[in-house]
Symmetry: C2
Subunit: 407 residues, 2 copies
């Protein structure tokens, strides 16, 4: 029984969160510093960007989490602290500031930064705002929301989700916040995502669950095919739910993986829906692939195609662009077996059968593609594997936002 | 001595070309059918899309050129003849119609189509317009221009280039036309490119020259990272220049490859400049790479990045996006050694040195990036290999054009 509950990252037992404006951003009404803290040391796991240009916080967080434990996460927006000569020093100093204020060893603190790359980073505003940040901490949804707001950059809505579920007869909880709507083509994780849970689990199994999950969640998400320098997805498990500790694969691990995937897919859909300039969520479901990898390649190529994205923006039923993307996706496929449908609340539009275009009513097509959420359903007719990818349309506003991002 | 000359594909000895409106397009003022024909059977070579979804004309042309010879090329715009159940039959029929009219065996005729994918194709307009097409043939620049116009889709200007050069004491000529400004990320060749020359060369050496060339020309070009289903680059060599036939590698082959590269690079720059909605040409030059492949990966990732493209559109000097693209390019590189400059007619803007961001004058940056042609110069400081890639900015008009392409 997986049940949606309130609370975001504060839903699981033992977590508080908060967020304030400390001055990294000039705009005073936008929060720019977030903190998530657990009452006790947590089992922790992370996945990070595969970009060779890595933000300094990625380097520091990876090192602090190497032992499989952490207790707090401090995150700023407005500056990515990437490509700065003293970046690692600044990220370590940020951890030290949080460490003193929270009386937690700096090695148990994770740090994240998001914003402009190559902008000189100062910890002065963080130092000045630390007391207010600590005071802002609360264990309810308001605390989680403040943190979710403080990590936003071009995001237009905060992303948060939480569920309760059962493990070994105990009620457990999982919650998450995330941000990232541009420079999004995670190749390990999205820009920034933080998940909390109160289950008891070993560091190795928590890392295994997270690493496996991202293959079919964040790694299947794209706004603009630009894999960020700062992608970080962290999970902290407090153990306060009292379930028998998960130390190996088995029923409980599988049950936890299932709820974790519900959380990560929900975040992916929120991130894609709020993609920079986006007016529509695109979900591409591929079935009938020979291998899971073929299914993933095919689905991701479709949501990544600028031509598919602009066509969805224009509600123009140009199914040939989906065929084209499938053709260069790298997936093994027999074009003569490919079916393509577009589906939305307004109905289904069958576009291709056996690799050949079907005739259709333009009026019906316009109706189907004018909805807010468009599903592209593809059958490769060549096996049993499936995959789903998420993206968004490409619009005038994406160009506007990114033509002048820094100002 | 390579000299720019007039004539396009009609510049080399033995070639005529023409173009008419035959009715494949509804718009009567837009030509939609082109023909290039040689007085004699030519040595011919081609490179084609790697997309698994291949236009029917690609299949037919590849088969007709399998013997290394061809004499004419017939091309329509307005319909890609791709994903049609009877596509190959229609493409063969198009060759037969040209065959009867020209008294040339159908097997020596190449065929190309460009336009909407998955649109029913009829040869009726081609049959009806054939006599007018034959009458339109001429051996001067007007003929080449008519053909160049007839193959345009969303292109706003026709692309044509021609040079004279010397081989074995004989004056030789090479000319070319091309089209393609969207669905452009050739992985063999651009949408459509046709090159003529009057040199004498064996089929094997002509194919070798072309196949090698595209690695550093068309394969380094991207408008939107969508590898088309119909990419075709053909070269016909009439042999009328009277040079000693090139049958092996050597001085003459190298000299020919050099002039061929001048032609293909000129076409790439024209195609990128006219990229759908583009206001600026982006040329990315990478040097100091360990291997040529690393240099190519790095250069292409930069011109492909939507974030780099929108930044150039907005003349916003966000060099971090170049660093980000380098980081996920797949090229082996040591970020600490990377330098990045932006160069245009208005001057140079040094953005990164040794992987760290430099401070700069916003006013100067705006001036440099507001020019029509922006060169991004990258030094990886890690070897001696170089590569150049071409792209264009991503603008409101790209979205507009592709949000409603079919109507």
């Amino acid at each position: 029984m997986i049940k949606k509950i309130a609370g975001g990252v504060c839903a699981p037992k033992g977590f508080r969160a908060g967020g304030v404006h400390c001055g990294i951003r000039k705009n005073k009404i936008k929060k720019d510093l977030a903190l998530i803290v657990s009452d006790m040391r947590c089992v922790a796991a992370g996945v990070y960007t595969t970009n060779l240009v890595k933000g300094a916080p990625v380097v520091v967080t990876r090192s602090h989490l190497a032992d499989g434990y952490a207790q707090a996460v401090i995150v700023n927006s407005g500056n990515a602290n990437t490509c700065n000569a003293d970046g690692v020093e600044m990220a370590e100093k940020t951890c030290l500031l949080a460490s003193s204020a929270l009386s937690i060893p700096a090695e148990d603190i994770a740090v994240g930064s998001t914003g402009v790359i190559g902008l000189k980073f100062s910890t002065d505003p963080i130092e000045a705002g630390m007391q207010e940040l600590i005071s802002s901490l609360s264990g309810d949804e308001a605390g989680s929301d403040a943190a979710a707001e403080a990590i936003m950059t071009t995001d237009t809505v905060k992303k948060s989700v939480s569920y309760s579920f059962e493990l070994g007869g105990k009620e457990c909880r999982i919650g998450a916040i995330a941000k990232g709507v541009g420079m999004i083509c995670p190749n390990m994780a999205t820009m920034l995502g933080f998940i909390t849970t109160d289950i008891a689990i070993s560091p190795a199994m928590l890392q295994a669950a997270l690493s496996k999950d991202v293959k079919t969640s964040f790694n299947m998400l794209s706004v603009d095919r630009d894999t960020s320098t700062n992608d970080t997805l962290l999970i902290l498990a407090s153990g306060l739910a009292g379930n028998p500790e998960i130390t190996a694969r088995g029923k409980d691990f599988t049950a936890f993986c299932r709820v974790l995937h519900k959380v990560t897919v929900a975040l992916c859909r929120m991130l894609a829906s709020d993609g920079e300039g986006a007016t529509k969520l695109i979900e591409c479901r591929v079935r009938g692939a020979k291998t899971a990898k073929d299914a993933r390649l095919a689905a991701k190529a479709v949501v990544c195609s600028d031509l598919v994205k602009t066509m969805i923006f224009g509600a123009d039923a140009n199914g040939g662009r989906v065929m084209c993307a499938l053709g260069y996706s790298g997936a093994k496929l027999d074009i003569g077996k490919v079916d393509v449908d577009f589906r939305s609340k307004a109905g289904v539009l069958s576009a291709y059968r056996g690799g050949a275009a079907l005739e259709f009513s333009e009026e019906h097509a316009k109706k189907v593609l004018s909805e807010k959420e468009i599903r592209i359903e593809i059958s490769l007719g060549d096996g049993k594997q499936r995959a789903t990818a998420w993206g968004c349309d490409l619009t005038y506003d994406y160009v506007k936002i990114n033509g002048d991002y820094r100002t």
